[in-house]
């Protein structure tokens, strides 16, 4: 019987599989950052053991870094100490660091792909749930906790039970103004924030095939928001064209051999999945979330569900969520005033996202009382944006182009949305307090966020194109 893509990759990385035990899975690439690694290095120190394969771990500083004046020392003492610890740990244990000031620095899930470190067929882990992003290349990539970071540093392996497999097909073609972010927000709204827990998802279908690598990364990135262990897409010519020539990608004869192998990475026609879901791209309109988990989303022209539409059991959590958002059941969001616009995060901060936004806002200016933050995913994205003159378009529109980092996606640094304010955000989570204590988040695509920046309100970007 045929195998799924996920099974092909997983099975070829098993070092030890014993009945009653989780599989010991070999990890090809391990990314680390300043927030979830210090305790893992401490663990190694306590055990008196080295990093087993230091060349297979790469580090960057992203979660906790300022997005202004990165050339100056970090002002906040705890953040500075955490970033300094990363420098100290990576230097002591021989791990390559793309720290602040390095031309490769950026959000871990942006730099891996753009440097050609992320490749098809790999197993990739990082102490960050959005590691699923790398699945866009046909890799098995998933987020892990710090104890597991320590496992990988110590042994280059991780102990995991094999998840079930789900296939999500999106057939047909996307409408005007509908982006891959809308696809994934739509899917999550249909299957809920826990709809794929216990599964590894493969995305397939014409609408997925037609996406660029950047757009595929946005989809895989948010797999975790429906609870999935990860998400992946079979590599194809779009994938190979993206990788070819990148800094750490195979070159010459190695490239040819790698390509031959990568072309075997697809789910066999007779492979079976534990669950298959099918959606039609034509049903998807630009999406927006109204609640406090990513499953609470809808088409931007729709109304928030009324209480009567929900089962009795679901109502208390739903009401709590809308109270936090200060929104009414049954209300619509079109025309709702927004205070902040955040375009950034590992979901939507790549050069393609910035280009889309720049094309849309060229010659326009932001609404007067909206603050717009554009935070590029990496130093390379920032440099590319400047080379293409995108920075000037943003400046003329009244948008602030800042320096790379996770920024207001999780508001660990000083980029916080003030209490009670509404932020339309291209990031991945609308949890209570995610963008700052009592801040209120509407998740949306870069185009829908840009439309809000210009109009000052939640708008249907299709009417502005």
């Amino acid at each position: 019987m045929g195998k799924t893509l996920f099974d092909k990759i997983w099975d070829s990385h098993i070092v030890m599989s014993k009945p009653g035990h989780p599989d010991a899975v070999y990890i090809n690439t391990h990314f680390i950052h300043e927030v979830t690694s210090p305790q893992a290095f401490d663990g190694l120190r306590k055990r008196g053991i080295p990093v087993f394969r230091p060349a297979k771990t790469r580090a960057t500083a992203d979660h906790n870094v300022p997005t202004l004046h990165q050339d100056q020392p970090i002002k906040e003492a705890l953040s500075r100490y955490q970033v300094e610890m990363l420098t100290k740990n990576t230097s002591e244990y021989g791990v390559e660091l793309y720290g602040l000031g390095h031309r490769y620095q950026g959000i871990v899930h942006v730099i891996g792909p753009e440097l050609g470190i992320t490749l098809p067929g790999m197993t990739i882990v990082c102490g960050d749930s959005h590691t699923s992003t790398h699945g866009a290349f046909g890799a098995v990539a998933f987020g892990i906790g710090t104890s597991e970071v320590e496992q990988v540093l110590a042994t280059q392996c991780i102990l995991q039970y094999k998840p079930k497999r789900m296939k999500i097909e999106v057939n047909g073609q996307l409408g005007k103004g509908v982006l891959s972010k809308d696809i994934i927000l739509y899917i999550i709204s249909k299957i809920s924030a826990s709809g794929a827990t216990g599964y590894f998802v493969e995305y397939a279908g014409e609408a997925i095939r037609n996406l660029s690598m950047e757009a595929r990364m946005t989809i895989c990135n948010m797999s975790i928001e429906m609870g999935a262990r990860g998400g992946l897409i079979a590599p194809d010519s779009t994938t190979f064209d993206y990788i070819k020539g990148r800094e750490f990608a195979p070159k010459g004869a190695d490239w040819d051999k790698a390509l031959e192998y990568w072309k075997t990475l697809y789910s066999d026609a007779d492979a079976t999945f534990d669950k298959v879901l099918t959606f039609d791209a034509a049903d998807i309109e630009p999406q927006i979330t109204y609640g406090t988990n990513p499953g609470m989303g809808m088409g931007v022209t729709r109304h928030i569900p009324a209480l009567e539409q929900l089962e009795e059991k679901e109502r208390p959590s739903f009401k709590k969520s809308l109270e936090y958002m200060d929104l009414q059941p049954g209300a619509e969001l079109l025309g709702k005033k927004v205070d902040y616009v955040f375009i950034g995060s590992c979901t939507n901060s790549r050069i393609e996202d910035l280009r889309l936004v720049a094309d849309f806002v060229k010659g326009k200016h932001k609404a007067d009382d909206v603050v717009v933050w554009i935070v590029p995913g990496s130093k390379q994205v920032e440099a590319q944006a400047k080379e293409e003159g995108i920075d000037k378009i943003f400046a003329e529109a009244g948008f602030q182009l800042r320096e790379p980092g996770c920024s207001a996606c999780l508001a660990m640094n000083e980029d916080k949305v003030p209490a009670g304010m509404y932020c339309i955000s291209t990031s991945n989570r609308n949890f209570e307090g995610r963008q700052g204590p009592n801040a209120r988040t509407f998740l949306a695509s870069p185009l829908t966020a840009a439309a809000a920046a210009i109009t000052g309100k939640v708008a249907d970007v299709r009417e502005l194109l």
């Binding site: 035990h21 055990r47 067929g121 906790g145 660990m412």
Partner: protein
């Protein structure tokens, strides 16, 4: 952190909210520490305290009626971020067991790696636990890992729970995954020789 878990009888702290994400368990702004200790005081920080740090009277952890080593929460507990700080905060606040009708995968792994037992019960049994605590805030629950059951002491109602045998052995004996993986060094080196590329 005690590395062994076998049996426990304790009252419980109920948080009957669904989809409790790790940002609620421990907000990102408290992730700046570089050790595993001290996160307990910020467990459920924004539900527990006002912006000026005064305790919110209506949150269960600020109500002296409720205490114990068992946290009972609504379904899909621990969704969101992979931050192990969530498990560290729960452990640091003195909890040994978390009961819910559904757990997010990464949280479940993180909890087990910190010798906290996540017990998944049915929706119906979860409701019974909440009812028992509502009738008596000091209602005791018994957790028996060896025999894999959880029991409401007052009524005697019990439900068995699943745990994989490997993790059960780890918890009952205080073993961790690194000990096991380090014992596979020869197999790992052998595996590496079979792969021409790093993928």
């Amino acid at each position: 952190m005690s590395k062994i878990f076998q049996h426990l009888v304790s009252s419980a702290v109920p948080v009957p909210i669904e989809n409790i994400d790790t940002d609620q368990i421990i907000p990102a702004r408290f992730l700046k520490a570089t050790t595993r200790e001290g996160f307990g005081e910020n467990l459920f920080r924004d539900w527990r305290y006002e912006a000026d740090n005064t305790p919110k009277a209506d949150f269960v952890m600020n109500n002296p009626l409720y205490s114990g080593k068992i946290l009972v929460a609504g379904k899909n507990f621990g969704c969101g971020s992979s931050r192990e700080h969530a498990a560290w905060a729960i452990a640091d606040a003195g909890f040994k067991v978390v009961v819910s009708s559904f757990f997010a995968d990464i949280f479940k792994n993180n909890a087990l790696n910190n010798f906290i037992l996540p017990i998944q019960v049915t929706d119906a049994f979860l409701d019974k636990i909440f009812e028992a605590i509502s009738a008596n805030p000091k209602a005791a629950l018994e957790v028996d890992l060896e025999n894999q059951f959880i029991r409401i002491v007052a009524t005697g109602e019990k439900e068995s729970f699943d745990i994989n045998q490997y993790k059960k052995t780890c918890l009952m004996n205080g073993y961790d995954d690194i000990d096991y993986l380090l014992s596979l060094r020869k197999e790992v080196e052998q595996y590496e020789t079979t792969r021409p590329f790093n993928f």
